[in-house]
């Protein structure tokens, strides 16, 4: 196991950091939101794709860079820092993972190059109710036709391709297929999503059963956890800076011991979570046999950490943190969405306990 980025990943991370800081800082999300784009920013996605970020885990034979999950995780972490609204996670990580793990040769050949180039936006459609419960899917597939409903599909409102999970199977559905109805959701994180219904829709079955559904979800969870660690880190650093500059009672508020202790605890929590996420990404690249454990560990802890970091961000900023003009609210809202996606801390504690046999 290693926690250290190799040279390729390091370079990728640096270029991602530079690009997102310059071209997609939080003000860009704010602009998208105020223009009611609900996460639509094709220009930004084109730029991101042009930098190769959409093909990081896709092998070179399919037009990607074949650099693996550690590398993509590094990019997602940087994207998380500035709350970049793009289908990087849903398409370049979750969608691509689904095709890599469950795609037939023909499906891979058809879709992976387009995902790598950013031409096609893919996403995975998992949940069917208010909560994450993949094993309880009611998706039906009979005679080549797929029926059922999916809720809160991330980037579902802009995706071209859905990978639809049943309890023990996966299906490819093009978004423009007859019988697909999507209701766009205007979401709290200003990224958008969709509820989607499939009424006897033409669909292609993919390889694999429940195990593969789980394996794909674990990749989605770990990748999202990387984004969450990025957001939590940035939230922490902004807050920490504020503690050093805001004065009350004649001194910077970072001098107050109660706040110092809270900051120190948050920092510790963040560092512990970072180790889990790095280890989980590494486990994917190593093809470790306990990826499921790492995934639940990373997603549960990242959920709690980003929750704490963003709540402390609001509270320690005081009144200004409650105003819309400050970024704290944007971090808080995105955090809440990522906490819920692909299972929250509660779901993953339960799963972790089961995996450990108790």
């Amino acid at each position: 196991m290693t926690f250290t980025l190799n040279d390729d990943a390091r370079m990728l991370k640096d270029s991602a950091r530079d690009f997102f800081r310059e071209q997609a800082p939080v003000t860009r999300l704010r602009k998208q939101r105020d223009a009611k784009q609900n996460g639509r920013d094709p220009e930004l996605w084109a730029e991101i794709s042009a930098l190769g970020f959409a093909g990081v885990i896709i092998p070179e034979e399919y037009g990607g860079a074949g650099l693996g999950y550690v590398a993509l995780g590094a990019v997602l972490e940087e994207a998380g820092r500035t709350l970049v609204a793009s289908p990087l996670h849903s398409s370049a990580l979750a969608g691509a993972s689904a095709l890599l793990l469950a795609g037939t040769d023909a499906q891979k050949a058809e879709w992976l190059p387009k995902i790598a180039s950013g031409e096609v936006i893919a996403t995975i459609a998992i949940d069917e109710g208010a909560h994450h419960a993949p094993a309880k899917s009611k998706i039906k597939f009979e005679g080549g036709k797929l029926s059922g409903e999916k809720k809160y599909v991330a980037d579902g409102h802009i995706a071209d391709l859905f990978i639809v999970a049943a309890a023990d199977a996966l299906f490819l559905v093009k978004a423009d297929t007859a019988g697909v109805t999507r209701r766009e959701l205007v979401t709290a994180d200003s990224r958008g999503a969709a509820d989607i219904s499939f009424a006897g829709v033409a669909a292609e079955k993919m390889n694999g059963g429940a195990d593969i559904v789980d394996a794909i979800l674990d990749r989605a969870r770990i990748g999202l956890a990387a984004e969450m660690v990025g957001a939590a880190s940035e939230a922490f650093e902004i807050t920490s800076e504020y503690l050093k500059t805001r004065k009350q009672f004649g001194q910077v508020i970072g001098g107050f011991q109660a706040l110092q202790h809270r900051a120190a605890k948050l920092f510790t929590d963040l560092e512990l979570t970072r180790s889990c996420v790095l280890a989980a990404l590494d486990a994917l690249d190593r093809n470790a046999n306990n990826v499921a454990e790492y995934a639940s560990l990373a997603k549960a802890r990242a959920s709690e950490t980003v929750h704490l970091a963003t709540n402390e961000m609001v509270q320690l900023h005081g009144g200004i943190g409650m105003t819309d003009v400050h970024d704290a609210g944007l971090y808080l809202k995105r955090a809440r969405v990522t906490e819920a996606l692909y299972g929250g801390a509660s779901f993953h504690r339960d799963r972790y306990a089961s995996l450990l046999g108790f």
């Binding site: 766009e184 706040l259 509270q315 009144g319 969405v337």
Partner: protein, 395 residues
């Protein structure tokens, strides 16, 4: 005595029966149903206007204030009878008012006769809507660091500065305001003044919160002239009044938690589901159970404090404790609601979410302010530690 009370109860019941309009006996459906009064207030429901006028005329919007200032002049016992009768018919509060909750009590204690006669009756009848000018951009938790200047110009005070977090200042008629009258000292250089918001030089700008609502404003004072008679209490004696008023505010805000319309248990049952009578998510269930216990503990503690107050105990020092506990409770409640509602509580607007779903999300975001407004949780914990527990710095 008890017999008198029973007579009073019968009379009250009869009067309410005759005077409380039917729609005022139905539960409020949202914040929009709250009547705030004031010069420019537009009643959405004519019966709400009638109800306020009738209650205001009897002084029952402020039941225990002296009748000479427009109040109801009731004893504490009579007031309890009135409240129980109001509750019995499910009557809506006729008036929501910072004048009633915060300013009135301190005017009764600190204002001169002229000021009481001028302002209290209008508060009682909901004719004037008040806002509070306390915090400033550089003076939040450190309220006494405020800089809004108030200069003695002989026949008037001249005010220059900026306030922030003035609740509904854009709707308010008057503002009670802390100003600096001496820059050479800190707490001892603060005075308490009343400002007509229509005075030239007063400007307000609403602040949009992360929840999308704008219940607060920035308020700017540029060369605002106010009469000398608008200072309450003595020159440089405003800090004592400010502290007293903060107690009323904290008691008031700490009550937020009880204003629940949707119960978290119902929400969880709906979105999470039951299995053998227990919420399927046992982890969430345990945390909701712990929360419901704290909610009950809080409610019982408020009841206990009221009982102790009635018995003559001094419970005013508990305001900070209840403020902290109440804010924490409501924030936890909103978090659990969002968690229980899953992705249905991740919406912002549009048809994809029900109004209840959206209210859960917005209410969750709004709740984050509970531990900041009316004195942050940190400041109130300082107060409990120092004033209640007697822990002090030796420095």
């Amino acid at each position: 005595m008890t017999q008198d009370l029973e007579v009073f109860r019968a009379e009250t019941r009869a009067w309410l029966e005759a005077n409380c309009p039917p729609s005022m006996r139905t539960p409020m459906t949202g914040e929009d149903d709250a009547v705030w009064g004031g010069r420019n207030y537009e009643f959405k429901n004519p019966e709400a206007k009638l109800w306020l006028e009738r209650m205001g005329a009897k002084g029952w919007t402020a039941p225990t204030w002296p009748a000479e200032y427009g109040g109801g002049g009731l004893s504490a016992d009579e007031n309890r009878v009135l409240q129980s009768e109001l509750k019995k018919i499910g009557a809506r509060p006729p008036l929501f008012s910072f004048g009633l909750w915060m300013l009135g009590p301190v005017l009764l204690e600190y204002a001169n006769e002229e000021q009481k006669k001028e302002h209290l009756p209008k508060i009682v009848r909901g004719e004037i809507r008040w806002c509070q000018g306390y915090s400033e951009p550089g003076a939040g938790s450190d309220l006494a660091g405020l800089q809004t200047k108030c200069e003695d110009k002989g026949d008037h005070w001249l005010i220059n500065g900026q306030k922030v977090w003035t609740s509904y200042a854009n709707y308010a008629d008057w503002c009670f305001c802390l100003v600096r009258t001496d820059t050479s000292v800190k707490h001892e250089g603060i005075s308490f003044v009343l400002i007509d918001m229509t005075t030239p030089g007063v400007e307000t700008r609403p602040i949009k919160l992360i929840s999308g609502s704008s219940p607060f404003c920035e308020t700017f004072f540029t060369d605002v002239k106010i009469p000398k008679g608008n200072m309450v209490g003595r020159l440089n004696g405003g800090w004592e009044i400010a502290k007293r008023l903060l107690q009323y505010e904290r008691t008031n805000i700490s009550g937020f938690g009880s204003n629940t319309r949707v119960d978290v248990v119902d929400l969880a049952k709906k979105h999470v589901g039951l299995e053998d009578g227990a919420l399927e998510d046992r982890d969430l269930r345990a945390r909701i159970a712990a929360h419901k216990m704290t909610e009950r503990a809080y409610a019982l503690s408020v009841q206990r404090a009221q009982e102790e107050a009635k018995a003559g105990g001094n419970v005013s020092h508990m305001a900070s404790m209840f403020k902290v506990a109440g804010a924490t409770l409501n924030i936890d409640r909103c978090e659990l609601m969002v968690e229980a509602a899953g992705n249905r509580a991740l919406g912002w607007s549009g048809e994809g979410f029900t109004p209840d779903d959206l209210a859960t999300t917005r209410g969750w975001l709004r709740s984050k302010g509970n531990s900041i407004e009316g004195g942050t949780t940190e400041i109130n914990l300082n107060v409990v530690a120092k004033r209640v527990l007697g822990l002090r710095d030796t420095q």
